[in-house]
Each structure stands twice: as structure tokens, then as C-alpha cells.
């Protein structure tokens, strides 16, 4: 049954908190540009959704107008950078307790200046109750939306757009959450919503779903019956009681009926034969804790059993659980998981959602925003603006609870272009981008969190330096420091807050935080300079390569790729060298490289392969600007082109560290083409194509790539994928299995990681893989 809420709560404090002061910088952000509101009012929590636009500074690159100028002037950078304002779309979701609703509505009204919105979509059991209040306060007409429709729309949305949205709960594991990589096809699935009662819905497509069953024994039963039995009024307190109780004092177990003989009979003596079976006596008192625990087991087991029966009948093995009974409570997630495992004998998986509480609000919003076609776009969770998952058990994480207070936020950025899976993945459902799961690996987690903490000073300095003309750069950089530092502290305590913790998520969070404080591209000038320097060396490098014999040249090309990859401002060991030695160049980098045999070395097989027929088309994911892309990648591309292989060169859509962006790569390619006939004709004949990845991350998620890239890969029949760099080929994709040949190469610029892999600083990974026939 839909969440119909608890009329027992909320009524007490509706008018209490009018005087609450809201920090507008943190909550209800971007209200001034807000349009399209939706609200989901549950039994105790209100979720508000709105759509807004965010103005961001972005660094744009473009070629100089060279007319009448000598392009070969030494002092001139290869292209110009201008900082522009860009408007992006963002979805804001705010969750707060019903007691604040009036204060929040007042706040919204005061800050809502130039909106054309006339209507607010409302869902949830409280939509009735607060209808008049909302209409009066906001002067918006309340449009009621069907609860279940909203829930499912919301569920589809988060499953499609938020990687690591779903997780399984593992009892007694550290951490208790294990996130699932999103299945490329999320349908069909079963959604079990445990509100007051239970609704079981089968979702088959975006718009097709069916209520296939339900049960009246749900959260309301736990709450209502629990209140009667224990005289405890609050749901959370009941859960707390339950977590301390012993159900065996109240329940009749198999061993109570069979005595000790259950063992010889192969029965599990601890199974509950009859819930509350021992309470059938007038002369015994039972503790509140024990009764609450017994009730929790009774209800969770019953729901789990029914869910399994429905899953079996409809041949489904993915069951998502939601509703206020679940809402992040470890106690209920644990009992539901146990029950599902028990009744399905492990065949059905109980899955929970990080943003479960927001589903209704998201769905209601999507209903109202249908003319904006929100489902046409891909969306990304903004780590800077989102609170992340936290345990709702206060005793579990007291610090988190105190800091986050009463408001919980989720922000999602609309991405420019839709993202899809790389068609060359061997098995998209089982693809996991990240090599190390830091939620799982406590040692690695500790190392990387410290590593990012230590690097923070440098990042702040770099950010300030990147905007010399700005008066408030230092202040913003300080805010950035605080924000990212807090995120790191949250992740220390709750590594699961944003899904699986990985080096990638740490890097992405940093990028999001930088963007948040208008440091869109702290490395733009560094990249500009590096590109300029490297371009000047291009011809010399190409000449010397051309002078080599074929076999020598192949090795030199690979070494060039690797040496180029040393130039990574994201790696502490390198950035220190680069900062202190401005003369450090391509040749110096080559000397740093490990001698063959490399740490991972399948070069001989690669060479052997090159003696065979050329590849049809190579997809190359480039890494750093400057030496890396210009002296490493382009000569390699040039060789492939000469062999008759077409090349798709994929670069990031947005900036991340000193990684080369798509727009920078276009300018660089133009300059290279001017110097080199092979590249020039290939560009003209579209045998060399530059595309964007759709990402702004130093890492690479092959399941979320720009749709244009995927189309091109299919059209051109790409049969070789080259992934370069530590972020893309080691932190991610090291184990990625592809349907075609692949080259993963990187220089390990972090001694801890190198040691872990059995190597040393500047050890080389050269991994050439051919899929099994």
C-alpha cells in the first residue's frame, strides 16, 4: 500500500517551528531561478523538488584569429582561454521533517522571485492535509499526482541516472552496504513499497507497471501494534526497542516444540514456528524490547515471504524495497534481507536504494515536467550538493547526525548529452569500472583518503593561482577546501555515503566541489602552456621516429605514449617535479620510465600483432594535455593511420585536472594537422575523428559514455580500444573485459599503488588483451 503516513505524528509540532532560521546558502539553493515545483508529503517527512538553473564560470578555449599575424611567434600560446558564464540545469531535492513545513514554505515564498510557475505537483499521504497551506503560502495551485505512479517514475529515474543507486545489505559485514553496478536494462523489476501497508508492483517498462499484490501487514502494523504493545509512540523509538530485544522470549521456536531433537531432524531450531506463540499466557510479563523485536521479525518475515512468492510467480529476481519502514533503517534492512534470503534460498536479491526517500518527489516532479522531456537527458548526481546516504540510526553515526541536522539534500545535474554503455563491453551487466572498492578495502581507503587530504593544500593553491584577476578567489578556494574536507571526513565515517567509494568517486567529488565554487578549470593555463611547449616539439619527435626502423619505431611509439603519461598534475610525485623543474621534458620523462620487462608487459604480443593485418578502427581514450597527447598520443595515432587504421580519439567533455578536453584536443589537432600531412589528410577524410566522452572525470566509466561516441564506434566497427593513464586504465578498467582487442597502458605515479601491484614508482603497465575466441 502506498505510504499514507502516520496521522499520529506531525500534528503536534506543525506550528512550533515557524521561527526556524534556514541557512539559504545550503538549503533551498538556487531558488531565485527555480521553476517547476513538486512536493511529496509523507507521514513524517516532506520532500520538495524543484528545477533550477545554475550559472557557472567555464573556461572556453578557441583559436586566435591569426589573420595578419605570424603564427610561429615563440611567446604566443597555441590558443586563447576565456572564462564565460554558462547556464546549466539542475534538479534540487530537499528533505525535511513535516514540522518545518510552514517555515519552509515561507522561506520559499520569500526567495522565489521571478518564477513563472503556477502549479505545484503534490503526492504522498500528506498532500491532502497540507493542500490549503501550500496554496495559501506559495500561491501555487496544487496538482495531486498518484502516489504509486510517482514512486515508480522516481525509481526508474534514479536507477537509470545514478550509478550505485541500489545496494544489498550485508549483515555483520563492514561496510554493511554493497552497491550494485547499474544493469544496462533496469526492467523488469519488482518494487515492494512498505509504507503503512505493503504494495508490490511489477515494473516492465518506463510507462508500464502493474500492482500485482500487497499486504496489509506493513509499517503501519509495526507502528500501530507496536504502540499498543509497548506504549511507545514513535516509530524510531520502536525500532530502537526492537534492536535491543530478544524475540526468542516471545516467539515459539522450532526448538521449543521439538526440544533438542531438531538437530537430528535437520531442522533449524532457531526458526520461528509461531510468532508471539509464547505470549499466549496470562501470568507472564514480557519486556517492551522483546515484543518489539518479535513484531519486527514477524512483519519483516511476512513481507519477505510474500515478496518471494510474487517474485517467483512473475519470474523476477530483482526486488527493490522502499517505503518508510525501510528508509535507511539498518534494523529493517537486515530483517528483510534475512527473510528474502531464507524464503528464496538465495535466488531473489533484496535491493535497497540510496535515494529511496526521494522517489515520490522525483516522480511527481517528472510528471509535472513532462514537457521539458527530462527523461531524454542523462543526469548525474552532484556530490558537492548532495548529503549522501547516512544511517538513520543515531547511535550508529552520531557525528553525521548532528552535522547534517534536519535537512537532507540531493542535487542532480542535467548532462549536456545522453550517456550510454560502450557497445564493445563484453558483458555490460557485469562491468564494474573501478578496480578497487574502497568501501571494502579499509587499508586502501585509509591511504587514499589521507592522500586526498594531503593534496588538498596544493589543489587550493592551484585554484587560487588559476584566477589571478579575481578578488574573491582566495575566499572561494577556502570554501572549497572546507567543503571537500568535510566530504572526506564524512567518507571516513561513512564510506558508503555516495555509493561505492573509489578513487574515481574521490576525484569526481573534488571536481564537483571545485565547480561549486567557480573553479571550473584550475589547470586551464597549465594545459595551455604545456600544449604550446609540446606542439613546438612535435615535428622534431616525429622526424626522429620516422628515422627509426619499423620494429624500433613501434617500441619508441609505445615508450612515447608512456613517457607522455608521466605528465600528470594529478599525481603528487609528478606535480612536485613539474613545479620545481620547469625544464622537465619528454626526454627526462623517458628516463624515469622503468626498463623492460615492465611490471605488466605484453609488448611482445602487441608487436607480433602489429606484424599482422591492420586494425579497422581504433578507439583511443586520451589522458593528459601537453606532452602526453601531443608527443605521445598523436605520433601513435599517426602510425595507426599510416597502417590504414581509422582512429577515434575520445577526450573528456569537461575539464578534470590537466586532462585534455575535447575542445582543447580539437585545437591541438588543428595545429598538428598544420604541421603534419598524415594527420591533416586523415582529419579531412574523416579517418581521424575527435569525439567527446561525455565525462568530466579523470577516470573512465565505460557504461556512461557519450551517445555520439557509441554510435561512431558501432558505425566504424572499432576493433581496438586503447586506454591510457592511471585514472582510466588502472584505477578504472584495469579488469574491464572487452569484445575486441585492447591496450591498457599507464605509468604508476603513486608509490603506494605501485607497491600494491608489486612494482615501484614509475613502473609501467602495458596490458595487451585479446578476447577469447
Amino acid at each position: 500500500m502506498a505510504e499514507c503516513g502516520a496521522s499520529g505524528s506531525g500534528s503536534s509540532g506543525d506550528s512550533l517551528d515557524k521561527s526556524i532560521t534556514l541557512p539559504p546558502d545550503e538549503i533551498f539553493r538556487n531558488l531565485e531561478n527555480a521553476k517547476r515545483f513538486a512536493i511529496d508529503i509523507g507521514g513524517s517527512l516532506t520532500k520538495l523538488a524543484y528545477y533550477s538553473t545554475v550559472q557557472h564560470k567555464v573556461a572556453k578555449v578557441r583559436s586566435f584569429d591569426h589573420s595578419g599575424k605570424d603564427t610561429e611567434q615563440d611567446h604566443e600560446p597555441p590558443y586563447e582561454i576565456s572564462v564565460q558564464e554558462e547556464v546549466t540545469a539542475r534538479l534540487h531535492f530537499v528533505k525535511f521533517e513535516n514540522t518545518y513545513i510552514e517555515a519552509c514554505l515561507d522561506f520559499i515564498k520569500d526567495h522565489l522571485v521571478n518564477t513563472e510557475t503556477k502549479v505545484i505537483q503534490a503526492t504522498g499521504g500528506g498532500a491532502y492535509k497540507f493542500k490549503d497551506l501550500i496554496e495559501e503560502k506559495l500561491q501555487l495551485k496544487v496538482d495531486k499526482e498518484d502516489v504509486m505512479t510517482c514512486l515508480i517514475k522516481g525509481c526508474n529515474f534514479v536507477l537509470k541516472n545514478i550509478p550505485h543507486e541500489a545496494f544489498v545489505y550485508q549483515k555483520d559485514a563492514d561496510p554493511e552496504f554493497r552497491f550494485q553496478t547499474n544493469h544496462p536494462n533496469i526492467f523488469p523489476y519488482l518494487l515492494v513499497n512498505i509504507g503503512s501497508g505493503v504494495s508490490i508492483v511489477k515494473v516492465e517498462t518506463e510507462d508500464r507497471f502493474e500492482w500485482i499484490g500487497g499486504s496489509s501487514i506493513g509499517g503501519g502494523t509495526f507502528w500501530g501494534l507496536g504502540a499498543l504493545l509497548t506504549k511507545t509512540k514513535k516509530f524510531d523509538e520502536l525500532l530502537h526497542l526492537a534492536s535491543k530485544g530478544q524475540h526468542t522470549n516471545v516467539d515459539m521456536l522450532v526448538q521449543d516444540i521439538y526440544g533438542g531433537a531438531h538437530q537430528t531432524l535437520g531442522l533449524s531450531g532457531n526458526l520461528i514456528a509461531s510468532s508471539f506463540g509464547k505470549s499466549a499466557t496470562a501470568d507472564k510479563e514480557f519486556s517492551k524490547e522483546d515484543m518489539a523485536k518479535s513484531l519486527l521479525h514477524m512483519i519483516s518475515n511476512d513481507i519477505g515471504q510474500l515478496a518471494c512468492l510474487y517474485a517467483r510467480l512473475h519470474c523476477l529476481d530483482r526486488v527493490y524495497f522502499g517505503g518508510f519502514f525501510i528508509r535507511g533503517h539498518p534494523v529493517t534492512m537486515r530483517t528483510i534481507t534475512y527473510s528474502i534470503n531464507f524464503f528464496s534460498k538465495g535466488e531473489v536479491q533484496a535491493l535497497f536504494l540510496r535515494h529511496e526517500g526521494y522517489l515520490g518527489a522525483i516522480g511527481a516532479f517528472l510528471k509535472g515536467a513532462e514537457q521539458d522531456n527530462p527523461n531524454q537527458y542523462s543526469w548525474g548526481e552532484n556530490y558537492a550538493g548532495s548529503s549522501g546516504l547516512m544511517s538513520s540510526s543515531p547511535e550508529l553515526c552520531p557525528t553525521q547526525r548532528a552535522r547534517s541536522g534536519t535537512f537532507d539534500l540531493l542535487e542532480m545535474d542535467r548532462l549536456e548529452r545522453p550517456l550510454v554503455s560502450l557497445p564493445l563491453l563484453l558483458d555490460p551487466p557485469s562491468y564494474v569500472p573501478d578496480t578497487v572498492d574502497l568501501t571494502d578495502d579499509a587499508l586502501a581507503r585509509k591511504y587514499w583518503l589521507t592522500c586526498f587530504e594531503e593534496a588538498l593544500d596544493g589543489v587550493v593553491k592551484r585554484a587560487v593561482a588559476s584566477q589571478p584577476g579575481s578578488v574573491d578567489a582566495a575566499e572561494r578556494a577556502e570554501k572549497f577546501r572546507q567543503k571537500y574536507w568535510n566530504k572526506l571526513q564524512t567518507l571516513r565515517h561513512q564510506p558508503f555515503a555516495y555509493g561505492t567509494l573509489t578513487v574515481r568517486s574521490l576525484l569526481d567529488t573534488r571536481e564537483h566541489c571545485l565547480n561549486e565554487f567557480n573553479f571550473p578549470d584550475p589547470y586551464s593555463k597549465v594545459k595551455q602552456k604545456d600544449n604550446g611547449v609540446a606542439l613546438k616539439c612535435f615535428q622534431r619527435v616525429v622526424h626522429s621516429l620516422d628515422a627509426l626502423g619499423w620494429e624500433e619505431r613501434q617500441l619508441a611509439l609505445v615508450k612515447g605514449l608512456l613517457a607522455g603519461n608521466v605528465f600528470d598534475w594529478g599525481a603528487k610525485a609528478v606535480s612536485e617535479v613539474l613545479e620545481s623543474d620547469p625544464q622537465f621534458g619528454f626526454e627526462e620523462a623517458k628516463k624515469k620510465l622503468q626498463e623492460r620487462p615492465w611490471l605488466v608487459d605484453s609488448y611482445s604480443r602487441w608487436l607480433q600483432r602489429l606484424k599482422g593485418p591492420p586494425h579497422k578502427c581504433a578507439l583511443i581514450f586520451a589522458d593528459n594535455s601537453g606532452v602526453d597527447v601531443i608527443l605521445g598520443v598523436f605520433p601513435f595515432v599517426r602510425e595507426l593511420l599510416s597502417r590504414g587504421t581509422e582512429v577515434i580519439l575520445a577526450c573528456n567533455s569537461g575539464p578534470a585536472l590537466n586532462d585534455v578536453t575535447h575542445s582543447e584536443a580539437l585545437l591541438v589537432a588543428e595545429r598538428v594537422a598544420a604541421m603534419d600531412a598524415v594527420v591533416r589528410s586523415a582529419l579531412r577524410e574523416e579517418r581521424l575523428l575527435l569525439v567527446q566522452t561525455g565525462s568530466s572525470s579523470p577516470c573512465l566509466d565505460l557504461s556512461r559514455l557519450d551517445k555520439g561516441l557509441a554510435v561512431l564506434v558501432r558505425e566504424r566497427g572499432a576493433d581496438l580500444v586503447v586506454i591510457e593513464g592511471m585514472g582510466r586504465a588502472v584505477h578504472t578498467n584495469y579488469h574491464a573485459a572487452l569484445r575486441c582487442e585492447s591496450l591498457k597502458l599507464a605509468v604508476l605515479k603513486n608509490s603506494w599503488l605501485a607497491e600494491r601491484l608489486g612494482g615501484r614508482l614509475f613502473s609501467v603497465i602495458f596490458k595487451y588483451e585479446v578476447p577469447a575466441e
Partner: protein, 420 residues
């Protein structure tokens, strides 16, 4: 405290055999071949015991065709047992003989007689065993067959305290064979199996006999303290599909906590006078009527005890309302799980038996209605006569089915041997 057989009756003894040898003998064909009718009487009295989580069910076969010769040979203790059991309806403070359930003039193994049904709470089991010891039951020659979880739990006590060895029989085996058997013998000339027509309408509701001539496949839902659900494909082919811990014990246990009642009868009586809609949140309480988007009727319960989240409503309900809501909650849930099992197993006749349904017309009619409504008429809920005979309190099927079967299991091989 319950004392199954009055200690005042000095002459009362139960016949227990020198068990181990006899049990071995029973399974040995060669021995059976040697058995002759006169030997059979040494097996008297015929007992069966089902020791459940809450109740112990005892059946006793009273032979009515005792010849003068037999009577003379019969030891005094046997005679007094017969007299004691058949002339009393209550034993001690908690033992009860359900007279209305007595199966009269039954022919078992060539013997004519009446089958009696006696029950007492499982927590009085130690007293029962103690009495067996005091009365030196072990000196008598009979087989004490038992099933149910308690057959295992109390086996050691029977042995060490009473010097009695139980013949344990598989509970589910007994249940299946029992129900088929009881259906075949009928109920004192009437049909054993029945169903409800118009179960939702108190005026038009009618109990009609059902001819279980094609029993297979059937789903057997045994509602005792907990619930076991079995899919039965033939006499010998069945499986336990699932079970739930929300059963009769849950209803009674919760009622005790919520209302302070002390007996199952009292709980049911309260429930019959209560109004569950004050306690439960219905679909119409949330949506104002039917929830059309999903085809849910307004009268359906959306959240059991859902209204009890509110303090005001908690203060407004009576104990009777709470008892009724507990009954409706447990019953609906059993119906729901049974229906899903029937769908998964592709079975459309569902037989509900067990203690919980004793004198429980509300539950039976609700099961009948819920199964029919939610399956759109595809599933039929069937009941066994022993749970409802006329308006009088009835006994749950498992009450006698299991001990009944016990008797049959003991006697069947003997019948074969006797035909030689």
C-alpha cells in the same frame, strides 16, 4: 494444573507394551504373518498422540464388539481406562473430550468401535508423563504412537521418567494420510468436506458439502500454532511448500497481550463482538473510496492496525475491536500466502485444517471469501467437517487426523496379515 487421569481412580492403568520388540515386530512381515486375531487385543488400548506447540491431541479407540471371552481376559486396568475415558468429558482442569466429534460405529481392522477425541495444553505434558510413571503404564502392553514436534521434545522424558518408548511418526505423513482417510470414512454418515457459498453475506452464507472425489492436486494448509502449507499430488507424493509463523499461536498470543484474555475461546468470543475497521486502516480511509488506479476496493485493509499509529484512535478502541483486528490480520495473511502458493504450484483447491479454525467461523468465512475474491473465483477454499459441526464448538482437523492416522498406521499391516 492439569491432571489427565484423575489420581483418585486407583485402578486406572494405561496399557503400554514392552515396546521395542513390538515395534520391531510390527515392521517385520514374518512376524505379522504369525499374528492372529486373538493377539490383537493385546494391543489395546489403541491410542494416538499428537503433541503440538500449544495443544496435545489424544485419540482413543473404544472397541464396542468385545466378546465375553475377551472381556474376561481383559485386565482390570484396561477396563477402567475404557470406563474412565468414555464416561467423562473433562479430565482434571484442562483436559477435555470433544463429545460432538466422536466418530461412532467405526470399523477399524475388523473391530467396531467409537473414536474419541481428547485435548489438553502442551504445557501440561510433564504432568501427563509423571502420571504415566506413577501409574506404572510401562507394565502394560501397548504401542504409544505419537507425532508432532512434542513427540521429539518429550521422547526422552517419556523414556527416563515414564519408562515409556514412543513410536514416533512423521507429522506431515500423518497429516496427509489422515485427511484423506477421514474424508473416506465421512462424518457419521455426512460428508466430511465442505465449502461456503456467499461467505461475505451473513444472511445468505451457506455451508455446502463438497465431494472430494478428485482430491489431487490439493493444497493443504494446516493452521496450528504456526502454519504449514503442503502441496499434495497423490497419496504418497507431497511436499512442504512453505510455512509461516503467523498462525493460531500468533492470534492467541497477541490477543492475550492486547486484551488480557486467557483462553482461545475467550479470544474468539471477543473477536466476534469487535469491529476491526476501527483498528485497521482501510483503502477508503486513505483514498476516500476505491483506489481505482490499482483496482483496490475501498473496503480492503490497507494497513492492519494502521489506525493504531494515532493516539486518539488507540484510546477509542475496545478490547473486542483489537481481538477482531488480530483475527482478521492473521486470517487474511494466511489466505494471502495460501493463494500465492496455490498460484505458484498451479493448484486450485485449497483445504484449510488445523486448530486455529476450531469454532472459528469468522476465519473460515474470511478465508473462503478472500480466496474467492482475490483469485476472481479461480480458487476454492475447502474445510473439513470436524472444524465445524453444526453450531457447536468443533475440533480442528489436525486434532484427530494425526492420531487417527496413527491408529491406521499401526493397524493396517495387521489387517493384511489377518487376511491370511
Amino acid at each position: 494444573m492439569f491432571i489427565p487421569f484423575s489420581p483418585v481412580d486407583e485402578n486406572l492403568y494405561l496399557l503400554f507394551p514392552n515396546k521395542t520388540e513390538l515395534l520391531l515386530a510390527l515392521t517385520s512381515l514374518s512376524f505379522l504373518f504369525l499374528l492372529r486375531l486373538p493377539l490383537l487385543k493385546s494391543f489395546f488400548p489403541w491410542f494416538g498422540l499428537d503433541i503440538g506447540g500449544t495443544l496435545v491431541k489424544l485419540v482413543y479407540f473404544e472397541p464396542k464388539d468385545i466378546t465375553t471371552e475377551e472381556e474376561e481376559e481383559e485386565v482390570e486396568s484396561l477396563k477402567s481406562i475404557r470406563k474412565y475415558l468414555t464416561s467423562n468429558v473433562a479430565y482434571g482442569s484442562t483436559g477435555i473430550r470433544d463429545v460432538h466429534l466422536e466418530l461412532k460405529d467405526l470399523t477399524l481392522c475388523g473391530r467396531k468401535g467409537n473414536l474419541h477425541f481428547i485435548r489438553f495444553p502442551t504445557h501440561d505434558m510433564p504432568a501427563f508423563i509423571q502420571m504415566g510413571r506413577d501409574k506404572n503404564f510401562s507394565s502394560l502392553h501397548t504401542v504409544f504412537c505419537a507425532t508432532g514436534g512434542g513427540a521429539y521434545k518429550f521422547e526422552q522424558d517419556f523414556l527416563t521418567i515414564g519408562d515409556l518408548q514412543l513410536c514416533k511418526l512423521d507429522e506431515l505423513d500423518c497429516l496427509i494420510k489422515g485427511i484423506l482417510y477421514i474424508d473416506s470414512v465421512g462424518f457419521n454418515g455426512r460428508s466430511q468436506c465442505y465449502y461456503f457459498e456467499n461467505p461475505a453475506d451473513s444472511e445468505k452464507c451457506q455451508k455446502l458439502p463438497f465431494d472430494l472425489k478428485n482430491p489431487y492436486p490439493l493444497l493443504l494448509v494446516n493452521i496450528g500454532s504456526g502454519v504449514s502449507i503442503l502441496a499434495v499430488y497423490s497419496k504418497d507424493n507431497y511436499k512442504r511448500v512453505t510455512g509461516t509463523s503467523l498462525g493460531g499461536g500468533t492470534f492467541f498470543g497477541l490477543c492475550c497481550l492486547l486484551t488480557g484474555c486467557t483462553t482461545f475461546e475467550e479470544a474468539l468470543e471477543m473477536a466476534s463482538r469487535g469491529d476491526s475497521t476501527k483498528v485497521d486502516k482501510l483503502v477508503r480511509d486513505i483514498y476516500g473510496g476505491d483506489y481505482e488506479r490499482f483496482g483496490l476496493p475501498g473496503w480492503a485493509v490497507a494497513s492492519s492496525f494502521g489506525n493504531m499509529m494515532s493516539k486518539e484512535k488507540r484510546e477509542a478502541v475496545s478490547k473486542e475491536d483489537l481481538a477482531r483486528a488480530t483475527l482478521i490480520t492473521i486470517t487474511n495473511n494466511i489466505g494471502s500466502i495460501a493463494r500465492m502458493c496455490a498460484l505458484n504450484e498451479n493448484i486450485n483447491q485449497v483445504v484449510f485444517v488445523g486448530n486455529f479454525l476450531r469454532i472459528n467461523t469468522i476465519a473460515m468465512r474470511l478465508l473462503a471469501y478472500a480466496l474467492d475474491y482475490w483469485s476472481k473465483g479461480q480458487l476454492k477454499a475447502l474445510f473439513s467437517e470436524h472444524e465445524l459441526s453444526g453450531n457447536a464448538p468443533a475440533l480442528a482437523a489436525s486434532y484427530f487426523l494425526i492420531p487417527q492416522e496413527t491408529v491406521r498406521v499401526i493397524l493396517e499391516p495387521l489387517e493384511h496379515s489377518l487376511s491370511y
